[in-house]
Symmetry: C3
Subunit: 114 residues, 3 copies
């Protein structure tokens, strides 16, 4: 069972595939507001999953970190719109400060791939 | 390798099965005290794992979020009683505020299933 | 698909293997400084992965918890040196208080194994 990595630098690979499962590095988004960042972040997840031979319909587990839990309702509105009906992943959401002070949301995804 | 989801709403599936592995959404519990919530939370994990064709003997990885690390010893007492002898999972435990202010513990599980 | 556990006590197994994947319990390190703890922590990851028939070249996903995000740059210097060129895992890093107040970093690893 080989390991395929892409978008690899000295710190991380954005995509790692192994045995029909793809692991993405935690994705964040550009923008000032939580909504702007969430939309950009989930767009990056889409792009990476597509490149990995997967999609938002194939997510197994999503872990969401918010820099402040007061964003919870606002994030869920965007998240629920994004999740394909009938294909929601297992999810957990907790509060954690992120790599840069401006960052409000990070999404960590494990998905099935071909 | 198909994906089986159950207890699926617009946000999450409580159970996602793929390739012999089951991913549960982060589980929390009712109650006021940490102990009450932990016992209820682990009971929900039991119920979901059973439904998925797994059990607490088959947990591969457990991630525990406590809203305050001062609960660490109290949680471990309940956790250690719950874990079947010889079948403890890989575990990590850190502090994170949770979705609602009242919540003191959330447990995220990846397990093997038939 | 059997489950193999080792270094198992009443709370956790340091190593859990299933279906070609190894899950390690969150690893921390001894020392006062972030650098000392990070080096010790990653050494423990090396030792456990080797014992599991894996290595730092086979890490699929790494989740890093820092007790204070001001350690981010210092941790990355040590991390980048440790990661084998071309084999970086999917990674996420967030802030979380850890089990003991002195602890500054915890690393949670999922890796491929033979």
């Amino acid at each position: 069972m080989s390991i395929e990595r892409s978008h690899t630098n000295e710190r991380a690979s954005k995509i790692v595939k192994h045995n029909g499962v793809v692991y993405l590095s935690g994705q964040v988004g550009d923008g000032e507001s939580l909504s702007a960042q969430a939309i950009d972040c989930l767009g990056r997840v889409d792009t990476l999953l597509k490149e990995a031979g997967s999609s938002r319909q194939h997510i197994l587990q999503a872990t969401v970190w918010l820099s402040d839990m007061t964003y919870f309702a606002e994030f869920n509105t965007i998240w629920n719109d994004w999740v394909p009906s009938g294909h929601a992943p297992a999810r957990a959401c907790g509060e954690a400060k992120l790599a840069r002070e401006i960052l409000k949301v990070e999404v960590i995804v494990i998905a099935a791939c071909v």
